[in-house]
């Protein structure tokens, strides 16, 4: 079976700024990888290139065995963007129903309920998004990403708007995804989070991968990922 994700020398340049430089990465199916790095390190750019949302200046790659940007691959991928807002005039259930139509899902109502249950949003699913807190919107974003049981899921700062309970729920959710064999790519600068849920860490700095390996290998003699990060990765 092919890897879930392959990047070969992916590079993205915006004018004179190198947002991502020569990203080469392989993620096996079922693996859970944390992309971490300071703000502006190129984590979100990498995910956008892999999803075909931005075009690489150089390099290429594959998603679930298909070329980057391939529509068929996107049918099997979930994505929670870092910054997003759903239409305020729709309810959560309507947002999910629209995405279910885009995915052409069979048995959409059942799968929408399942996604809502995963993020504990079902009781408020009929309310309009306009009345949601930031945390609820984040949960809705997660439900949208989970819809259709994707084989590979990209979560870009999934806990950024959540309170401690919400963060704990997301960690539990990622654990469940791992148990199901879903490949998870988690972008975060909350190092404790990555430490708890990822098998492997890929550290980025100024558009480059500066470390990539199993968590235990990366940590070396450091007690925590945060201690390693502060000692190793310079300030942006």
């Amino acid at each position: 079976m092919s890897d879930a994700l392959v990047a070969r020398g992916l590079t993205k340049r915006y004018g004179r700024v190198d947002a991502l430089r020569d990203l080469t990465l392989r993620v096996a199916r079922g693996e859970s990888v944390g992309l971490l790095g300071p703000n502006g390190a190129g984590k979100s750019t990498a995910v956008k290139l892999l999803l075909g949302l931005a075009r690489p200046t150089a390099g290429d790659g594959e998603l679930l065995g298909r070329p980057l940007g391939d529509r068929e691959a996107r049918r099997r991928v979930g994505y929670l963007p870092e910054l997003f807002r759903f239409p305020a005039w729709l309810s959560a259930r309507e947002v999910l129903a629209f995405h279910a139509r885009l995915l052409r899902l069979d048995d959409a109502p059942r799968r929408i309920d399942a996604a809502l249950d995963e993020v504990a949003l079902r009781p408020r699913a009929g309310d309009r998004v306009a009345g949601y807190s930031k945390g609820m919107q984040q949960r809705l974003g997660l439900a949208v990403a989970l819809l259709g049981d994707p084989e590979l899921i990209f979560l870009d700062e999934p806990t950024s708007a959540l309170d401690p309970h919400g963060r704990s729920d997301v960690r539990a959710l990622i654990e469940r995804l791992r148990e199901r064999g879903t490949t998870v790519v988690l972008n975060s600068h909350l190092l404790g989070e990555i430490e708890r849920v990822c098998d492997r860490v890929c550290v980025m700095e100024r558009g480059r991968v500066v470390a990539d390996g199993a968590l235990t290998t990366i940590l070396g003699g450091h007690a925590t990922l945060e201690a390693w990060f502060l000692a190793t990765v310079p300030r942006p």
């Binding site: 049918r75 994505y79 910054l83 997003f84 239409p87 885009l102």
Partner: protein, 284 residues
């Protein structure tokens, strides 16, 4: 098929955000005012005698042209203010990221937003314009020579401005895209007048300048088609014999030639195609 989903989403948004309700109330107010005005016009007494029916119909025809002019502005502004945010806002607020991570083509989003906006405007033109003309006809007996053609031309104005607004929204924020599209409509209208003035004065240079503007943004050609379809044959004949009427935006001597209509249709297709290409190439 996916484009239709986005068109439906656009229409649902207009209904949910109470735009449809607001426009319906305002249109009703305009219809009531028109009905009252036209009924009064039919009952005007001058020197103890009621206004003769030909005079009532002649006055009504002028008012119909003014109303159509108002409608063309409403349609153009509506196209700019609905079309631009329909696409630009979803790009600006990141909603588009979750959508385009789905197995859809970017062209579907552009086409769907365009189609939804155009549907809303066309329905508005058909209903509001149709009711207005019916009210005028029932109060004064005046029926324009080509009412359906006039409504089609007005919908065409909407199509041109919508296409521009959507195309600009691929790259510009909603406010800028809407403002530029509305501004283009205004410039095209002035271009049409400049062209007519140039022809009236016999200045090829001035006329050509106006023609170029009309070709670059063909909304004025369609507005003039609406004018021609609404004005009585008598006024058309008078305008044709009076060279100075050329600068009058309401006095049109001939319908837009088929070549100009084909150009307008081609313009919409090309600009929409360019918007799709720009969307495909755009980094999100």
């Amino acid at each position: 098929m996916t484009a239709l989903l986005f068109a439906g989403l656009t229409l649902r948004e207009l209904a949910r955000r109470r735009l449809v309700a607001a426009v319906a109330v305002l249109t009703l107010a305009i219809v009531v005012l028109t009905a009252v005005g036209m009924t009064r016009l039919a009952g005007v007494v001058i020197d103890g005698a009621p206004l003769p029916p030909p005079a009532v119909r002649g006055t009504a025809s002028g008012i119909v042209l003014l109303l159509a002019f108002f409608f063309s502005f409403v349609v153009a502004l509506g196209a700019a203010l609905i079309g631009a945010p329909a696409l630009a806002e979803s790009i600006a607020n990141g909603e588009i990221l979750a959508l385009l991570a789905r197995p859809i083509r970017r062209a579907d989003v552009v086409l769907g937003r365009w189609l939804g906006t155009l549907c809303a405007l066309t329905v508005y033109v058909a209903i509001a314009g149709g009711i207005e003309l019916a009210v005028v006809a029932s109060a004064t007996g005046y029926v324009p020579p080509h009412p359906f053609a006039a409504l089609l031309y007005l919908a065409g104005v909407g199509a041109v401005v919508t296409t521009a607004a959507i195309a600009l929204a691929v790259r510009l924020p909603a406010l800028a895209a809407g403002a530029v599209a509305a501004l283009c409509f205004g410039v095209a209208w002035i271009g049409g007048i400049v062209e007519a003035i140039g022809l009236a004065l016999g200045s090829r240079t001035i006329a050509d300048a106006g023609t170029i503007v009309t070709l670059l943004f063909p909304s004025d050609a369609l507005w003039r088609g609406a004018c021609y379809a609404l004005q009585p044959a008598l006024i058309t004949a008078a305008a044709a014999t009076n060279q100075n009427a050329g600068g009058n935006p309401f006095a049109v001597t001939a319908p837009p030639p088929p070549a100009l209509l084909a150009w307008s249709g081609g313009w919409v297709v090309v600009v929409l195609g360019a918007a799709i290409v720009a969307m495909r190439r755009r980094d999100l």
